[in-house]
């Protein structure tokens, strides 16, 4: 069974905050504007939104990673 998780490349991230705008269900921002992820698997219903958020990141720092368990 395959699940998807969000991950951020913290070196690439420049706190544009697009990910939070597009996926507030799973991404909050800290006081400096950097994303906070919870590491849990993505609900399949949110997968399309997550991919859109990843594509919209200006520095391509948001990753939707597939894991087979």
């Amino acid at each position: 069974m395959t699940s998807h998780r969000l991950r951020v490349n913290p070196i690439a991230c420049e706190a544009h905050g697009m990910c939070h705008e597009l996926l507030p269900e799973r991404i909050s921002l800290d006081e400096w504007g950097y994303p906070i992820l919870d590491g849990a698997p993505l609900d399949p219903a949110l997968l399309a939104h997550a991919r859109r958020a990843a594509a919209a990141c200006p520095t391509l720092a948001l990753l939707v990673e597939r894991r087979s368990n």
Binding site: P10, I11, A12, C13, D30, W32, G33, Y34, I36
Partner: protein, 461 residues
């Protein structure tokens, strides 16, 4: 800081199959490095496990098995099983059809200001480290070893350079003849010793951590499968190759066998590098250093990003990861620092966290801003400025906020330090929140004073 012989060492006793201490520090000279001839007469020739061709491969995989049976854990801080690392690199190189040969990196960056064990080995017993590196190279099928040594330690750089020269001029290189060794100075900064930072530096980039994966065993120096091992780990490996796994396990605990080097500093009579058996009491280490110079307040274990243990529990502490886990601590890179009751822990923490913040690679936002905010909160308490009563809850939430949010483990380490500080120094923190700076705030620092950080730019050496 000097290296100390363990209490039970007889100076003229040759290293042998005897299981006791000292092991790594046996025969350590009072000054200079131990020469090749003395090294070989002390420890014996390297076992001929690495012939050429088929024999070489057979012997090499035999060494990995032996290291696995020995249960050797990395001594750079993370305590990862060394055999698993060796196997991963050996496997990665095999999986590439006609692909890149693996490479071995000796991690002697030792960016930890309170640690001196790695530079002590490099300075005094360089051949033991070179043996271990060469054996590891043979085991993973590498022909190249890069010895990364901190640029701020000229005696270590000189000793390694001399030792390599000595081997070139000698016919006694033996089984390691096919391995090329290169000495590579590494910038002096806290994060330079993180695997990915070291690999980045040795590939011609800055000594800054990179986003992983890929991990070094997959894509390391110049994209080749890379084994990165701490200096002390390789020295242990050189002895395991000679004496075997059973010998190694005759000291220590089943889950953490063997001995370890620790750097003891702070309020002790004889600070220095000591070799201990895993699981031995902290009290006997302090005895070996001729005791304390002041009443202790707390002990910092692991490193500057380590864990504080209250002095009232000092007699309960034993030096293995299992014994330390009830305290939320681990042996880490072997740093043991004793803070006296005369010091102000809040002021010490303000200086320490400010330095740790300055050592951020400034690549990841949560580390860059979070560590600065942590240092500022401690400074509010020790300097009396700002909203002091908000500092403690602020520190608690910042410790949780920065954890796991950097490309390397630097913010995680600072988070651990802050969490244990809030528990162990709760009284002092509350007192400073209420009354502002104390008289002891102005005392000079007891923690080994890290050098003034340089700007966060790093150029390849």
């Amino acid at each position: 800081m000097s290296a100390h012989l363990s209490p039970n060492q007889l100076l003229d006793r040759p290293a042998s199959d005897e299981p006791g201490l000292p092991r790594l520090l046996a025969g350590i000279p009072a000054r200079g490095g131990l020469g090749l001839r003395e090294h070989l007469s002390l420890h014996g020739e390297l076992p001929v496990v690495e012939g050429r061709g088929r024999a070489r491969r057979a012997g090499a995989s035999g060494l990995i098995d032996e290291v696995e049976r020995a249960g050797l854990l990395g001594r750079g801080g993370a305590g990862f099983p060394t055999a698993a690392k060796l196997r991963a690199v050996a496997g990665a190189s095999r999986s590439l059809l006609g692909g890149a040969r693996p490479i071995v990196v000796v991690n002697g960056a030792e960016g930890e200001p309170a640690s001196a064990k790695d530079r002590t080995l490099l300075r005094s017993l360089p051949h033991l480290v070179i043996d271990g590196a060469g054996l590891a190279a043979a085991a993973v099928g590498a022909q190249e070893v890069l010895l990364g040594v901190c640029e701020s330690s000229p005696p270590a750089l000189d000793a390694v350079a001399r030792a390599l020269e000595e081997r070139r001029g000698s016919r006694r290189g033996g089984p390691l003849d096919g391995v090329q060794f290169q000495l590579r100075p590494v910038p002096h900064r806290y994060v330079a010793g993180h695997e990915s930072a070291l690999v980045n530096h040795l590939s011609g980039g800055p000594a800054l951590p990179t986003f992983t994966p890929p991990r070094p065993f997959e894509r390391g120096v110049h994209g080749r499968p890379t084994l990165v091992c701490n200096v002390e780990t390789l020295a242990h490996l050189a002895l395991i190759a000679r004496h075997g796994a059973a010998w190694f396990r005759r000291l220590g605990a089943p889950e953490q066998p063997g001995s370890a080097l620790v750097t003891l500093t702070g309020s002790v009579v004889a600070p220095g590098v000591y070799e201990i058996e895993h699981g031995s009491p902290l009290a006997s280490l302090i005895d070996a250093a001729d005791g304390l110079t002041a009443r202790p307040r707390a002990v910092l274990l692991g490193g500057y990003s380590g864990t504080w243990v209250d002095a009232s529990r000092l007699r309960e502490v034993a030096l293995s990861d299992r014994d330390l886990s009830p305290f939320g601590a681990s042996l880490g890179a072997g740093v043991v620092f004793v803070l006296s009751e005369d010091a102000c822990p809040v002021a010490e923490l303000a200086r320490l966290t400010r330095w740790l913040a300055s050592q951020s690679a400034r690549q990841c936002g949560p580390c860059l801003f979070g560590l600065d905010a942590i240092a500022s909160a401690f400074e509010q308490l020790s300097g009396g400025a700002g909203k002091r009563d908000a500092a403690e809850p602020r520190l608690r939430s910042l410790a949780a906020l920065v954890r796991g949010r950097g490309a390397c483990s630097h913010p995680d380490g600072v988070s651990r330090l802050v969490s244990s500080s809030l528990d162990v120094f709760a009284l002092e923190l509350a007192d400073h929140a209420r009354h502002g700076p104390c008289a002891a705030c102005a005392r000079p620092s007891e923690l080994p004073r890290p050098r003034v950080p340089r700007p966060a730019t790093a150029a390849p050496a």
